[in-house]
Amino acid sequence: MSLHDQESFLRSIHPFELLGAKDLQNAVASMNIAYYKKDTLLIGPQKSAEFLYIVIKGEVGEYFEKDLLKVYSKSSTFDADALIYEKCENTFIVLEELICFEMTKKDFKKLLDASNDFKNFYIKDLASKIQSAKQKEYTTQMSGFMIARVADTYLHKVCIVDFSTPIMDALKKMEEIKTNCILVQEGDELGIVTDSVLRKHILYENYDKYAAIGPIALKPIISIQSDDFLFNALLSFTKNSIKRIIVKKDDEVIGILEQLDLLSYFANHTYLVAVQIKKASSIEELKQASRDFINIIKKLHAKGTKVEYIAKLISELNEKIYEKLYSMLVPAELAQKACLIVMGSEGRKEQMLKTDQDNALIIQDACDVALFQEVMEQFTSILIDFGFPKCDGNIMVCNPYWRKNTSQYKSEIARWLEAPSGDDYMHLAIFYDSICVAGDSLLLLELKTMIYEGTKNRSIFMANFAKSALLFETPIGMFTNLIVHDNMVDVKKGGIFPIVQGIRSLALEHNITETTTVGRIRQLKKMKIFEEDFSGALIEAFDTLLNLRLKERLHSLEKNRKFQNSINISNLNQLELELLKDSLKIVNKFKSFLTHHFKLNMVG
């Protein structure tokens, strides 16, 4: 293998392609080819690493004590950590006779210094690998807000007084205007008097509170133009360590931007849409508001807002629309006699763009179920009109099965628990995920309590409930290769569903009331069901899979294609591919945890 061939071999291995031509050449020139027999110990706690091994042919296993953690085959490299941190707890043993390149520690470190991208790949573990990917997305998420202008936010009114105005008079004027700082005019120049300025001079230095305000004003003031970006205002706050900035339109002062308002603007972007929904006084207006919010979502996406944020926005606003529509349609005397719930992904707030309606109504026993028929049928059809797709499984309030009184639900839940058949496990699962969006939430609580009671000490039932988490193979092979069909990987079957279902089973077993998957994982961690590290990894994996799927869906939305659960791996960059692989590895680890926990190998 000539120098040139070695170079192209190395270049084909991530992350070596990130290196400059010269660095790569030097690296290649200094490598040797080594041969090792099966069972040779290459690196271990007692045998420190001298080389970065690049597999040409053969296999090497990485063990922690007796557990095989990972298999390295052609084109894999190991073990950068052992070289970087100069220690290694795991053992690397040749599984199938090995031919490999050896790069000395010195040369490897030289490469790390030569390229930051190259270095980052090796230095960071999974959590930080994900973090760095998120960092990238965070920047784009911010951009959505950052292109907002100063004038778009709430500006406080200005209180301008003359240089010679007595302090007390100036304070009175400020209170009248309902603002919280005073601008002092001195010729063409402005100064500012804030609470802290007053405190300093009047309380600490006994400055006469009836004297002219001019001498205590701070100068010069820092200002920003109203059509400037909020981003710049934020920078100015940090740079000058100030809490307020004067907003000018050309030379005229038009208001004051407070740091607090800027921060809450970033935090409450959804607020305005929510207000619009709240204020809607007719179905038509509500429909308009719901259309508007879909447009906002599209715009946010166009601006590069983080997908996760969009998902959260959707479930929050959907809930508000449900709530509002319920209050508009259901007569006031009936409203509190029932409870409108959303189930499944909506209940878990993992709603991805426009997904199917999954809703139900629980009616008090004392109330006639028939009273709700007409209004609930109307409810469903209006939602469809609003653009919420029909549920294929007909899990909607217009279906009498999902519009019952408490005792009817109770007997049905009892049947789900005692003699489950067909869709019953699924019904129980989505019902357990439900949250109340309107009406009397106690009605839901009562039914959920029944579920907790009914699943207590029912290990066989729980095992059967949990086992569907293992229904689909994780699309990752023995050697961490992705198993793809036509470049597509089904992330729902392959990872999202197993996590959701597995976590749901564990949460149900421990009577956790939280409905979001991430929230449930956190609760389980608190209850010490998981190791702290593992719960973190699981959340990151889940998040990664959801994000990858949402990205794909937004992509389909642009192209007007139907949503699907598969992602095209050719659209992923190297980092995303690595994250996907790492996430699926965690899914596999979680599956073996479930198998062990619920003794799933005991149930058929």
Binding site: M1, S2, H4, D5, Q6, F9, A29, S30, M31, N32, I33, A34, Y35, Y36, K37, I56, K57, E97, I99, E102
Partner: protein, 203 residues
């Protein structure tokens, strides 16, 4: 025994004491694998165009110190041989003088054991320059990989004929074939064959 006597006889003919190192004791567990590209297959008539060599220390192929040299031939390379090794006349414009190449090569191999595929030919090619120049032939111990392969193989198929083509051996040993066949590539691949064979008790 005969080899030793022969070597001693040749040693006495060494015309330049500068090369006495060729007769020193070979370093333990070190080998040199080499291959030559030539203008043809007749050592009497044909000339060396390039030499590729690589050292083996224990089970490591020291590609970081490989030897690769191009030799300027005394006459034009024929069309047929260009087609085989793809070394064109222009490629050797900056090639070095055969005796320079020989000097460098001898210093690279020292007294190490030589390993090769149809090594006899490559040794003959070197000797063609060595004999008239220094009065000796390569004194190094020689190991033929196709020979080892044949011997290990024949135990299990005593009556069969064994395919000793380069690529067949590579494939049979499960070794990856990298890049094109040139002197250095072939030397490295032959080195892999040797290391593998050395470590494989049976095929």
């Amino acid at each position: 025994m005969i080899q030793t006597l022969k070597n001693r006889w040749y040693r006495s003919h060494l015309s330049d004491e500068k090369y006495a190192f060729l007769y020193e004791d070979a370093p333990a567990d070190e080998f040199v694998v080499y291959d030559t590209e030539t203008t043809g297959l007749n050592p009497k008539k044909d000339e060396i165009l390039s030499i590729g060599a690589v050292k083996i220390k224990a089970n490591k192929i020291i590609t970081s110190e490989k030897f690769e040299i191009f030799v300027k031939p005394t006459c034009e390379i024929s069309e047929t041989s260009i087609k085989i090794h793809q070394i064109r006349n222009i490629d050797l414009q900056n090639g070095c003088d055969p005796l320079d190449a020989l000097d460098k090569f001898l210093h690279f191999i020292g007294s190490r054991v030589l390993v090769g595929y149809y090594l006899e030919f490559d040794v003959a090619m070197i000797n063609k320059y060595l004999k008239p120049h220094l009065g000796i032939k390569l004194p190094n111990k020689q190991i033929e990989v196709s020979g080892i392969y044949h011997d290990k193989k024949i135990k299990f198929i005593p009556d069969g004929t064994i395919d000793l083509r380069f690529d067949t051996i590579m494939n049979d040993l499960g070794l990856p074939i990298f890049g094109k066949h040139d002197a250095i590539n072939d030397a490295i691949m032959t080195a892999m064959m040797y290391v593998k064979l050395k470590n494989t008790p049976r095929l």
